[in-house]
């Protein structure tokens, strides 16, 4: 276990963390702003992966990466008008159940449209191959995932901290009724955030497609890690989503190498401990 080993595993952990960050940031801000639990977020990620795989097969990888978030955002808009708008006043259980039903529906719809066979996706020449850093050779594509996640995080942090719309979102998360009294159209703000969250889920799917195989149940598999990240980090907080993703990525990756057989148990034990000791998560959005 030399330096190379640690570097290699650290990069693996970072790559998993960034993927989870792209998914969990949408989920967490949606929850923070509207107290809405969207279990179907993982299903949207799967749709994104399928759209990316299809478009990439026809036009090319970069087109898929661009189109997938747009299509998934459209799907999110549709879901908003059909279901979510009416579920705003219901309790958490009704929301959990409706979005649980939505998982079933989206799962079978992807099976109807794309079939049960796993799809693959080609990485463009620019990102294929391996590169040597610090004595280890590492796939370029995985470095691209890390860079993309970091870039999105930086962009979101800038927007939230330094723009007017960011201030409005922060106000909405902090106290939506007060924000509405101050003349902010919280509902429209929410719709915007919801669409961006869905687009990020689609982007995560498109980014993950070449690394993981594209199967109908990929959304179901990623859902639980995403929820864990959101709950550990604290609902509604951008920094919490990043912290939660990093904790999950590192515990999962190093746990699997150093303590095989206990990695997953470790994650769930950590989640239970956080929920019991700090029920609002590590970095709650509200003071």
């Amino acid at each position: 276990m030399d330096f190379g080993f640690w570097l290699f595993q650290t990069l693996n952990a970072l790559q998993l963390s960034m993927l989870l960050f792209l998914l969990s940031v949408g989920l967490t801000v949606i929850f923070g702003l509207m107290h809405f639990v969207n279990l179907a977020h993982g299903a949207l990620y799967a749709v994104g992966a399928y759209v990316a795989a299809t478009v990439a097969g026809m036009v090319g990888y970069w087109a898929g990466l661009l189109v997938a978030p747009l299509i998934v955002a459209e799907l999110g808009l549709l879901l908003y008008w059909l279901l979510i708008r009416r579920m705003r006043q219901s309790g958490p259980m009704a929301q959990v159940l409706v979005t649980f039903g939505l998982i079933f529906v989206l799962l079978d719809l992807t099976r109807i449209i794309w079939g049960d066979i796993a799809l693959g996706i080609e990485v463009p020449d620019l990102l294929s191959g391996r590169i040597e850093i610090g004595g280890v050779t590492y796939p370029v594509y995985r470095l691209f995932i890390i860079a993309l996640g970091a870039a999105i995080f930086a962009a979101l942090a800038l927007v939230l901290a330094h723009t007017q719309i960011g201030a409005m979102i922060r106000a909405g998360v902090d106290n939506d009724q007060m924000a509405a009294c101050l003349g902010i159209n919280v509902e429209r703000l929410f719709l915007l955030v919801f669409c961006i969250g869905c687009a990020l889920a689609g982007l995560a799917g498109a980014v993950a497609a070449p690394v993981l195989s594209v199967t109908p149940d990929m959304g179901l598999k990623i859902l639980i890690p995403t929820l864990i990240v959101v709950v550990i980090g604290g609902l509604g907080s951008l920094w919490g989503a990043m912290a939660g993703s990093l904790i999950f990525g590192f515990v999962q990756t190093f746990g699997a190498v150093l303590m095989p057989g206990l990695a997953s148990v470790l994650i769930y034990a950590l989640l239970a401990a956080v929920l019991i000791l700090r029920p609002a998560g590590l970095f709650p959005a509200r003071g």
Binding site: L83, P92, I103, V105, R111, I224, G261, S264
Partner: protein, 331 residues
């Protein structure tokens, strides 16, 4: 408060008669479906106790059922206990696990409660899935059914096994009704309606919740034992969170907190799964759409809808008899 109205009692009697009739009238395939319904009904009674009457929406009941199944298997295989002792051990073990989870989660509410129970359920799933001690991904085979040959009953025949499960379901339903009717059950309903008031009345809230969760865990454990005996094979898939989710769906479709509704829901769910599953491979699409429709309609499931309608009708009739010009009250 828990009350078995004539409508509920009548439905229970009808369901029992129907189960008894189909136990004798149906062939092998029918008996398999019936057994599946009976086991699911036991699980959803356990879930309805905590979710419907205690407001504790648990996403770990599938895992509790799996814990019962694994405890039963391990007690028989590793400890070498005879079948009846292994069954008792499994039920008590699951009850203890349920009590601990209930005690730890007693302070969480709403979405957080759902998340903590999900975390505990997944912890169990990961433990079983990754440990070779429990057979890992491959599961465990070769589980025994109890030997009732002294009574002249061969439980390896599916009719006898279905009747055995029916007997277990009746016992569980009677026990659950008794629990909910007791002081403990009334305290639980009080907590659901107003936790602060119950605390002000001097109740140790977490202990009531833990006791009920433990009792519910025992029932879920029994469901797990029966499921293990039914297929004589167990795998970690039994403990996946989607099993808990499906159990919750059954409770919701039947009618949360109506006691009878979830049993009705279990029958409808399994029959629909087999009927629709025979027509199309996309059974989940149908159940997803039904679930969304039921939750968005704001009716309390199948049974809750009927009960609400009948209550409104009865209220209108009495209102008319009392004073014809008065507006009918909403029940």
């Amino acid at each position: 408060m828990f009350h078995l109205s004539p409508l509920r009692l009548g439905t229970l009697a009808l369901l029992f008669a129907g189960a008894l009739f189909s136990a004798f009238a149906s062939g092998y395939a029918g008996l398999e479906i019936l057994t599946e319904i009976l086991i699911l009904a036991i699980l959803v009674i356990a879930l309805d106790m905590v979710a419907g009457f205690g407001g504790m929406v648990s996403l770990c009941h599938g895992a509790l059922m799996g814990a019962g199944a694994y405890a039963f298997a391990m007690a028989g295989m590793s400890l070498g206990l005879p079948v009846w002792a292994a069954m008792l051990f499994a039920v008590l073990f699951t009850g203890a696990v349920g009590w601990i989870i209930g005690a730890i989660c007693a302070g969480s509410h709403g979405i957080y409660f759902i998340m903590v129970t999900l975390a505990f359920g997944q912890m169990g799933y990961a433990l079983v899935f990754e440990s070779p001690f429990f057979g890992g991904d491959d599961g465990l085979a070769g589980l025994a059914r109890p030997d009732l040959s002294a009574l002249g009953i061969d439980l390896n025949r599916s009719r006898a096994f279905a009747l055995y499960c029916l007997a277990a379901l009746v016992l569980v339903a009677l026990a659950a009704a008794q629990i909910l009717r007791s002081g403990l059950g009334r305290a639980l309903v009080g907590i659901r309606d107003n936790e602060r008031r119950m605390r002000a009345l001097g109740l140790t809230v977490w202990r009531t919740k833990a006791h009920l969760f433990g009792l519910s865990g025992m029932i879920a454990g029994l469901a797990g034992v029966l499921a293990a005996q039914h297929v004589m094979y167990i795998s970690p898939g039994l403990m996946a969170w989607t099993v808990s989710g499906e159990a919750l769906v059954v409770v919701i479709l039947g009618g949360l907190g109506t006691f009878v509704g979830p049993i009705l829901g279990a029958a409808a769910f399994v029959v629909l799964r087999h009927e629709i599953g025979a027509l199309t491979p996309y059974w989940h699409l149908v159940v997803g759409l039904i679930l969304i429709a039921v939750v968005m309609s704001r009716a309390n499931g199948l049974f809750g809808f009927v009960e609400g309608r009948l209550a409104r009708l009865a209220a209108r009739r009495t209102a008319k008899a009392d004073a014809p010009h008065r507006e009918p009250r909403d029940a």
